[in-house]
């Protein structure tokens, strides 16, 4: 039996449904923001630590060169 019945005159339900949809848009934006900030932080960390590693390697190289130079000087005096 199929009969067209008058529809229920909806109250505040559909309006709150709209706010719930908006809330999901807000969570999607928050999730995207966190993901973006975390990725940028990781990129920055990679750059910073690469710089630090390069600086440390340079420092060790300079220390080694200085040591070699001192040994050369000492050899010359002897």
């Amino acid at each position: 039996m199929s009969m067209e019945l008058p529809k229920y005159p909806a109250g505040a339900g559909p309006a709150i449904g709209h706010r719930l949809r908006q809330r999901r848009q807000e969570t999607a934006a928050a999730r995207a923001d966190l993901s973006y900030e975390l990725a940028k932080l990781e990129d920055q960390a990679a750059t910073t630590f690469a710089d630090l590693d390069a600086r440390e390697a340079t420092r060790q190289r300079l220390t080694g060169l200085a040591r070699e130079q001192r040994e050369v000087n000492r050899g010359a005096r002897i």
Binding site: Y8, I16, G17, R24, T27, L41
Partner: protein
Amino acid sequence: MKDSPHVARQNARARKYNNSADERAAVTAVDEAVFDKVRQVEAWTVENANNFLAASQGSLSEAAQLSAELNALRNDLDYTDRVAPREAGARYAVLQSRVAEVTAKLDRIDRESEWLEEKAADPYANYLGMLEKFPVLRPDL
């Protein structure tokens, strides 16, 4: 077992009446009785949704705060004299773990808001669906 309210509304229309005034009165009475019940369930859904919207606002604020902290650590790393590598690593580990926690909260918010929205969007269907699950709640009409 009692009829579903929807079937009761159909039956009220299919019944034979002495005159059209009686028919109109009977049909209207059943419709209004059903709509009153739907209104109660709709009001309950709206109240739940409002409580949910208020409660979930906290997780959005937490996400915004966390985003600012990620940004602050990135800025500190940009100036290497501001933060020692070990301290940066410790802060990163804490922040990364909090990102996972907050993201899980946001996922739960999505699921719950979808569930509530489905109920709020069509209060009549929601009421009928509830009575399909719990026929014992079907009203006398």
